[in-house]
C-alpha cells in the first residue's frame, strides 16, 4: 500500500481558479477531509474548506470528489486505488467564495418562501404511526448536495423558478404532518416550481441521510398538485362532497 495520496484541489474563486496537485501522507482510516486538512497543515494553510463535525451531521463539508457530490468527512480514502489521483472541487451549483467554500445563502432565501407549520385547532392528539412518515424528512442536515446535483439548478440555472429538492423535502415534512392545516399546493405549483422537477432522482442518489427524496417527498407532492389542479374527477368529487 502506498503511503502517499495525490489530490487535485480547486484553488480560486468564482472568477478564476485552477486545479492544484498536492501529495500528502496516507494513514489508515483517513477520510477525504483528513487529506484536505493535511494539505492545509503541510502545504497550504490558506486553503479554504468548510467543516464542523467530521461526523456527517453538520452538512458543512459538501464538495465534489472525483465528480461525485459527497460529504468529504464520510468519504474514506481506502475506497480509492492507492495510485489514484483524487480530484476535489467545490459544489458547481453555487458561487465559490474561495477554494472549496461556496456561498449557499440562496437556499436560505428560498426557505423564507415556505409558510411555517400551522397547527390545527381543537384536539391535538396524534399517533406515532402517523408521525413516522414525516420523521424521515427531519433527518435532513442541509448539506445542499441534492440542490447541487439537481440538473434544474445545476445545468438549467432555474434558481428563480425552482426551490430544489431540499425544500421539497421541507414542504413534504410540513404538508404531511398530521397536525398541520396549511395548504401549500398552489405555492408548490407556482413559486416553488415542483413541475420543473423531472423526477430523475439524482437528489436521492446523493443524499447522505438516505432520504428517499423523489419517492417519498417529491412524487407525493406532485400527486397532491394533480389532486388540486389536474384531476377533473377529483375536482367534481370535491364539489359534490364540498371539500376544499
Amino acid at each position: 500500500m502506498s503511503n502517499v495520496t495525490t489530490l487535485q484541489i480547486y484553488r480560486g474563486d468564482n472568477e478564476s481558479g485552477e486545479m492544484v496537485e498536492y501529495q500528502v501522507p496516507r494513514n489508515p482510516g483517513m477520510v477525504v477531509l483528513d487529506a484536505v486538512h493535511k494539505v492545509q497543515s503541510i502545504h497550504s494553510p490558506d486553503l479554504a474548506v468548510r467543516w464542523n463535525c467530521k461526523a456527517g451531521k453538520c452538512g458543512s463539508c459538501s464538495a465534489e470528489v472525483n465528480g461525485k457530490p459527497k460529504l468529504m468527512c464520510m468519504d474514506r480514502l481506502n475506497k480509492y486505488p492507492d495510485d489514484a489521483t483524487i480530484s476535489i472541487r467545490p459544489m458547481k451549483t453555487f458561487p465559490i467564495v474561495k477554494d472549496l467554500v461556496c456561498d449557499v445563502s440562496w437556499n436560505y432565501e428560498v426557505n423564507k418562501k415556505i409558510p411555517a407549520f400551522k397547527i390545527r385547532k381543537g384536539e391535538r392528539k396524534y399517533y406515532q404511526y402517523e408521525a413516522d412518515r414525516v420523521q424521515e424528512f427531519r433527518k435532513c442536515i442541509e448539506c445542499f448536495l441534492c440542490q447541487n446535483v439537481c440538473h434544474v439548478l445545476r445545468e438549467h440555472q432555474l434558481k428563480d423558478e425552482f426551490c430544489g429538492p431540499r425544500f421539497l423535502v421541507r414542504v413534504a415534512g410540513l404538508e404531511m404532518h398530521p397536525l398541520d392545516t396549511e395548504d401549500r399546493s398552489e405555492l408548490l405549483k407556482n413559486e416553488l416550481g415542483v413541475g420543473l422537477c423531472n423526477i430523475t432522482k439524482c437528489c436521492t442518489e446523493v443524499c447522505p441521510e438516505s432520504i428517499a427524496i423523489t419517492d417519498n417527498a417529491i412524487i407525493p407532492l406532485k400527486e397532491r398538485v394533480v389532486d388540486r389542479f389536474f384531476d377533473p374527477l377529483g375536482w367534481i368529487a370535491r364539489k359534490l362532497f364540498k371539500k376544499t
Binding site: Q8, Y10, G12, G17, E18, M19, V20, E21, Y22, Q23, H43, S44, E64, N66, G67, K68, P69, S87, R89, K92, K125, Y126, Y127, Y129, E130, V149, H151, V152, E155, H156, L158, F162, E175, M176, H177, P178, L179, D180, G193, G195, L196, C197, N198, I199, T200, K201, C202, E205, V206, T214, D215, I219, P220, K222, E223, R224, V226, D227, F230, D231
Partner: protein, 257 residues
C-alpha cells in the same frame, strides 16, 4: 509536494464530467432495453397474426398484446386488434414515474446521469407545459387495474381444456405475466397516493387505520417499482413471444397436468 495543473472549471458540453466511473452504462442499458421492447412490440402489433391458440384439442391462449381481443364482422383486415387496446398499457407505462425518469435520462439526456453535463439548451420547462400530460397517469392506472382483471380471466381460460381443468407451460407463462403486472401496478406511485398517501391525519378520517395499512403495503411494493417495471415489461413480451411460437408450431405447449 505541490504542482499546478491546468483545469477548466465548468463543464458545459454534453457528457462532460469529472466522474471516473462508468456512468454511461446505466442510460445506455435503459436505452437499449426500452428500444428493443418498442421495436418488438410495434412489430408484433402490426404483424396481426399468431396471437391466439384456439383449437378444439387445447386450452385457449391469448397474447397479452391482443387482450381483450376486439374483433367484429367487417373489420378491415389491416386493422390490428392490438392497436385498439395497446394504447392503454402503453400510456400507463409512458406516464409511469419510473419510466419517465428512465427515458428522460436515457433518451432525452436530461440529464444523462447525475453530475454529468447536458447539452446547453434553453427553455427547460420540465414537466410543465408540453409535459403536463404526464399528470394523466392516475387515469391510466384505473385502466391498468381493469386490464389486470381481463388478463386474469385469460389465465382462467388457459386452464380450461376440453377434458376439464389443466395447466400447461402457456398458462404458467400467462400467470407469471399477470403476477408481475400486478406487482408493477400495485406498486404504482399514484396508487400509493390515492390509496392512503394523500391523508395526513389517519386518525381523523373514516377507515384511516385501514387506509394507513394499505398505504404501508403499497409503499413496500413501491420501493421495488423499478424492478417490477422491468420484470413485467420483459414478461409481457415473452408471453407474447411464447404464444407466437406455439401458434406457428415452433414450440409445443406442454401440458403439466
Amino acid at each position: 509536494m505541490m504542482t499546478k495543473v491546468a483545469a477548466p472549471r465548468t463543464a458545459t458540453r454534453l457528457g462532460e464530467t469529472d466522474r471516473l466511473d462508468l456512468w454511461w452504462i446505466g442510460p445506455l442499458s435503459v436505452f437499449l432495453g426500452l428500444s428493443l421492447f418498442i421495436v418488438y412490440a410495434t412489430f408484433r402489433v402490426f404483424y396481426n397474426a399468431h396471437y391466439v391458440i384456439d383449437t378444439a384439442s387445447s386450452a385457449y391462449l391469448l397474447s397479452p398484446f391482443y387482450s381483450p381481443l376486439i374483433l367484429w364482422d367487417g373489420m378491415p383486415p389491416w386493422l390490428s386488434p392490438g392497436i385498439l387496446i395497446l394504447w392503454a398499457p402503453g400510456g400507463f407505462r409512458l406516464t409511469c414515474y419510473y419510466y419517465r425518469k428512465a427515458y428522460y435520462r436515457a433518451f432525452f439526456l436530461d440529464p444523462p446521469a447525475c453530475g454529468v453535463s447536458e447539452s446547453p439548451k434553453k427553455n427547460y420547462t420540465g414537466e410543465t407545459r408540453l409535459l403536463l400530460f404526464q399528470n394523466i397517469h392516475r387515469y391510466f392506472l384505473y385502466l391498468a387495474l381493469l386490464f389486470l382483471i381481463i388478463l386474469s380471466i385469460d389465465v382462467g381460460y388457459s386452464c380450461i381444456w376440453p377434458d376439464g381443468f389443466g395447466m400447461s407451460i402457456g398458462s404458467l407463462v400467462l400467470l407469471t405475466n399477470v403476477v408481475l403486472l400486478g406487482l408493477y401496478t400495485f406498486s404504482c406511485h399514484s396508487l400509493r397516493h390515492l390509496i392512503g398517501g394523500k391523508i395526513d391525519c389517519y386518525s381523523c378520517v373514516a377507515f384511516g387505520h385501514t387506509r394507513h395499512k394499505m398505504w404501508k403495503g403499497v409503499s413496500i411494493l413501491n420501493q421495488k417499482h423499478m424492478y417490477w417495471a422491468w420484470a413485467s415489461l420483459f414478461m409481457v413480451a415473452f408471453a407474447d413471444f411464447y404464444i407466437w411460437m406455439v401458434s406457428t408450431g415452433t414450440f409445443t405447449d406442454i401440458r403439466i397436468f
